[in-house]
Symmetry: C2
Subunit: 475 residues, 2 copies
């Protein structure tokens, strides 16, 4: 397997070389689907200017002596390189509320717990929460996340500092009036391309049940005018779909369609309420490369929401990326658990009780290629850049896994090991945009103890539920 | 909270003292159920002769100077002590087949993968697999497991060497003839109390679909005569229950009842096929303290088997312990994942779609008290000893967790943190029977690299599927 572009011999010394690792690669035998995922042994991954420039046989055997040495080397022997994981939908700063909204139905979760507590949030709280979340994600090998929240300049600063990659959208409700929507647009235009290009931005209306149809239509128009994607919650539950049908005569996805949101790049979070009638609409948008769905299956089970119908979405050609949602629903930002639970749940619920469906390679395809597609980060020619693959032209986002621990041995099938046994703690080094941000299981960019120390005295005020409520959940 | 027995002042120096930790404790306000689980701060855990002798306020403030110092001290400051986890049903050595039987239905899993591969097993293979499994479990804070497999003297040696605690049963099929059953009895009598009492034993007929009713009745008689518990698979799936009804006119649980197995101490693995008609029988046996069920929910989802009806079993008073099954079905032996998936799945499937059911404290009660009950290791007066609680008189099996990592912070609810965010890698030290066997995330008793080195050349032969088949799955 040699994927070097023809210009290599004249190329300058790489900034970074990961030497002698095994690498998860795509496109074997020209197959861009799950079956084209394989594992190349004893390869180097070379990086220049934040991009992967070469993934091929380890240098010491393939290269003439005298080739220019890289500025930095990571010893990859005994390690497995995988594309940095992509968390397609989260609210990073909600780690602040981890464990503070447990064992309740979604109405109580919103109205009795989360929306009251969120009325306490200051911009500094969000920054501290986002820093903690970035540290958690990087330590677990997640190198990109899509964030939909408030005080997003604070999240952008956390992304800048921590070295992670993110697509950021400032959430708005119709109850905020036009000012909320304009703040979201202003943010998206101002921060697009920030952090040396690691920040991309989206418009982020909250959901069809909190944003009116006329307002959704304005957002669609803004998206078209400014070439911005839209990231929103929709069809989160079947209850929402039924309520939408009663209220408007249309499913949430039909609302997206008739407000123009399926004619722009759009990321739909959750979709456990997607029904048969939605599939042709989603299929048409997917055909044009516009729509992706983010699935974070742990919370759906916890809230008894069923799960995203990935089998039906796959048949409709809709990319489905994997996600964690926020830690206040999901417990943590562990994307490896999302991989495994996706496998388990899709075999049981989403796949109609078929244990041969959603193989480990299918899960890995969702976690890499399809997650990048869902975030509109799959095309190396796009100004947004591309992630999710270890191949020349893709951003150099790499997680290096140490598979020597007893819980991972022996290995009969690396894909199964990744999906069913790998834990965040198995990630040893992490590279984002060519920069080493986690080395030997330590995050180099975030001072976690200092963040926690500043956070501790704020927690009591943060979790008060008697002050206000940012919104009322009424699906 | 002070639970020191009256004799303390005259007691000799403890063998071990864990100093200044937070501790998960049971029985607060006299409540032995989930609501009686709490977290005592700044306590010492003292150990003598392999037993916990005191859990109470940290010494430096509560004790007169001059008290005899312990032989060994573990600094528990900043750590959370929990009872070592109890894996109620596994096949430890099946880590050998981790990832070798993926994405297939249970018929193919047995007949096309596992039972052909198991015909290759030598006693030394089982010993190496069991050593690796013991290392994995100890590193993750699992200090007791119930093992149901072959070549069990090899597993006993791995238990002896690794320092873990286990209840061991040598599996038998009716197709082995009386010799298989006698081997199981001989093993159980010979190894009972081995490894300084860390080994208890059970009789282990495989399942009602592989062992005839007359043979099950003989096992029940042996169990009664020799005061041995029985550990077997039963009602693993609804398909098995239906097939049993067709073949015998009785459900698998009714078969247990009419062969006498519900009149002796019995551990039923899986039970996803338990139906309404079984509940009165199980309730009666539970009333007499005889029956427990082991639930390993990850594999049930993976195989699309539904899940153990824990809500119904709880209403019937049947203790349900948590388990992993073998790594060839479950991917690994991560009991923390079983805790979380139990919460998620019981809220969705086992709890009839009720997100307020199976709270984190309920899960912790299953993982501690009920797991110990299921293994008949819950009574400190019994010669088998008692585990699952940090309290005087219980065996000193303790996992000390480091909760400082970003994925665990901040903590609003320790029970939720344990169930939804804790991973095996958060376990820092592990004590079994008063002996430190994991220190600073390193297992002190098993030479994992040497095990893997010896194992590597055996793997090709181990996974051949063209040699034989130990049995045919025909539920």
């Amino acid at each position: 397997m040699e994927t070097t572009p023809p210009a290599r011999p004249a190329a300058p010394a790489p900034d970074l070389r990961v030497e002698g690792c095994t690498a998860l690669v795509h496109g074997l035998s020209g197959d861009d689907g799950p079956d084209g995922i394989g594992f190349a042994e004893d390869v180097d991954v070379e990086v220049s200017g934040g991009l992967i420039t070469r993934v091929g046989p380890a240098r010491d055997r393939s290269e003439p002596r005298g080739a220019p040495p890289p500025a930095e080397v990571l010893d990859g022997r005994g390690l497995l390189a995988v594309p940095g994981l992509v968390n397609c939908h989260t609210h990073a700063a909600m780690v602040l509320f981890r464990g503070a909204a447990e064992d309740v139905d979604v109405h109580t979760w919103f109205n009795g717990r989360i929306w009251p507590m969120e009325s306490n949030l200051t911009e500094r709280d969000v920054e501290l929460g986002a820093l903690l979340a970035c540290a958690e994600m990087l330590l677990g090998g997640t190198t990109t996340f899509a964030d939909h929240y408030f005080h997003m300049d604070a999240v952008a600063r956390a992304v800048e500092v921590s070295g992670v990659r993110a697509d950021l959208g400032w959430a708005s409700f119709s109850s905020d009036g036009p000012a909320g929507r304009e703040r979201g647009l202003d943010f998206a235009l101002r921060q697009r391309g920030a952090a040396a290009g690691r920040i991309t931005t989206s418009l982020a209306p909250h959901a069809p049940y909190t944003v009116t149809e006329p307002d959704l239509a304005v957002v669609a128009e803004q998206a078209r005018e400014h070439h911005l994607p839209v990231h929103l919650h929709a069809a989160e539950t079947l209850e929402q779909t039924r309520a939408s049908l009663e209220r408007t005569g249309a499913t949430p996805v039909q609302v997206l369609a008739r407000t123009g949101l399926l004619d722009v790049e759009v990321l739909v979070a959750h979709g456990t309420g997607v029904v048969e009638a939605d599939l042709p609409l989603l299929a048409q948008a997917a055909e044009r490369g516009l729509v992706g769905v983010a699935s974070s299956p742990r919370f759906y089970l916890k809230a008894a929401h069923g799960t995203t119908p990935i089998r039906a979405l796959t048949s409709a050609g809709v990319p489905v990326g994997l996600a964690t949602d926020g830690a206040a629903s999901n417990g943590d930002l562990d994307l490896w658990a999302s991989l495994e639970v996706t496998s388990l749940v899709q075999k049981s619920l989403g796949g109609e009780g078929d244990p041969t469906w959603m193989t480990s390679r299918q899960v890995l395809h969702h976690a890499t290629t399809q997650s990048a597609q869902a975030l509109h980060l799959a095309d190396p020619r796009s100004s947004r850049g591309a992630v999710g693959r270890l191949a020349p032209g893709f951003r150099a986002d790499v997680a290096l896994l140490d598979l020597s621990a007893p819980h991972l041995q022996p290995v009969h099938d690396l894909a199964a090991t990744l999906v069913h046994a790998t834990r965040p703690g198995d990630v040893r080094h992490v590279v984002v945009d060519g920069r080493v941000v986690v080395r030997d299981r330590r995050v180099l960019t975030v001072d976690v103890p200092a963040v926690l120390e500043e956070l501790r005295p704020r927690l009591a005020a943060l979790t008060r539920r008697d002050v206000g409520r940012i919104q009322t959940y009424r699906p």
